[in-house]
């Protein structure tokens, strides 16, 4: 791997993101918001704990889907951005594998999760580990019986879609959901790190 994660994280973590005169933040082909992680955690946790037991999986799948779709479109915006061209692109030698490693460096730089790819079988399987992530904050004491990193799950699958799912499709009709992801370990569940396994859907 030719990607220098430290260099990317150092550069990309300094990007300033604040609303313009309209109070909006257009960038990477999307509108960007910056909110306390507590909001996202609160909604996901309260929703999945309040729905009837038989519906928890459905609620979780929908939360993961939101991140999957977001990760696909925003991920594409990131890897085609001026910032990417300046910082990451010069390091890319092997396509799309180095693009994937670069994407997870940015994933880390922007505070989504301190994460890296630990296993990659091109176009088949990817395993990501996250050593610190805001979604684990839903547990302040003890260990949960359910995994809660819905955002990381969705984005992991989305990044594989972008790498191996064919040309980017803005409509989301093709490419998106070529892969899916299952969380197999979680800090919120008492594990040392979160682990996410992506495979063909």
């Amino acid at each position: 791997m030719s990607i220098d994660r430290k260099k990317i994280i150092s550069a990309m973590s300094q990007i300033e993101v604040l609303g313009n005169d309209d109070g909006l933040n257009p960038g990477f082909n999307v509108f960007v918001n910056m909110m306390p992680a507590k909001f996202w955690n609160s909604f996901a946790e309260r929703l999945t704990r309040r729905v009837p037991a038989g519906m928890q999986e459905v609620a979780e799948a929908l939360l993961i889907n939101a991140a999957h779709e977001c990760g696909y479109h925003t991920g594409y915006g990131i890897i085609t951005s001026d910032e990417w061209k300046a910082v990451v692109e010069p390091q890319i030698k092997k396509v799309p594998e180095d693009i994937l490693h670069g994407a997870f460096a940015i994933f880390t730089a922007w505070g989504w999760a301190k994460s890296e790819i630990v296993e990659l079988v091109p176009n088949e399987r990817m395993v990501v580990r996250a050593y610190d992530y805001y979604e684990s904050d839903v547990v302040a004491y003890g260990a949960s019986s359910k995994h809660s990193a819905y955002m990381i799950c969705g984005v992991c699958a989305a990044f594989m879609d972008l790498a191996y799912g064919g040309p980017y499709d803005a409509s989301g009709k093709t490419g998106l959901r070529t892969f899916n992801c299952v969380q197999t370990k979680g800090i919120e569940c008492g594990d040392e790190y979160g682990e996410f396994v992506v495979s063909k859907a």
Partner: protein, 178 residues
């Protein structure tokens, strides 16, 4: 002699290289996009098992009430005028839109959005919609009123009377004490 001072929001933000988190005013903050916000909103709207729209607004209210209250406390901001100005700026800094509190009291208030992340993100993604979708904004406004007037959370009911997503030129919220 008259002097004027413009109230300006200052946000302390830093990247912690150990945890790789962005910390703003003591809170972990995270960037997300309009796809994420609108899909979460749609999930709330489609949830038939509980009132997830109210849940979303409550989560927004709890998050922002804590943020704004602590911001005012740490900066020693006590005037209603300054608190409102800072809260409007905080909404914009978060990329959520341009907010104006047109009137406010511990009994009621009116708030408009000239621009809205949720509404314009929804239109960008799916086009216009028949009813308001900005539950995150409604929760923020509840939080704003609670924090400005030093009242507990859930002190105010907020209704979106007009919405950009429905085709209105601006969104308008009505606030009433519960």
């Amino acid at each position: 002699m008259t002097s004027y001072r413009k109230t300006e929001l200052e946000l302390n933000k830093a990247f912690d290289p150990q945890s790789c988190r962005h910390i703003m005013e003591g809170n972990t903050v995270v960037l997300h996009c309009h796809h994420y916000a609108t899909l979460y909103t749609q999930l709330a709207m489609d949830c038939g098992m509980l009132d997830a729209k109210a849940l979303m607004a409550e989560c927004s209210e709890d998050t922002w009430e804590e943020f704004l209250r602590e911001y005012f406390r740490s900066r020693g901001v006590s005037s209603v005028r300054e608190r409102i100005a800072l809260a409007e700026q905080s909404y914009a800094a978060a990329g959520l839109g341009r907010m104006r509190v047109t009137c406010a009291s511990p009994e009621s208030g009116e708030v408009t959005l000239d621009h809205s992340h949720l509404d314009e993100g929804w239109i960008k993604k799916w086009g216009h919609y028949k009813s308001p979708v900005n539950f995150i904004g409604a929760g923020y406004i509840s939080a704003l009123f609670s924090a400005v007037f030093d009242l507990p959370a859930r002190s105010f009911a907020v209704t979106e009377a007009e919405a950009i997503v429905c085709g209105a030129p601006r969104s308008r919220f009505i606030v009433v004490a519960r």
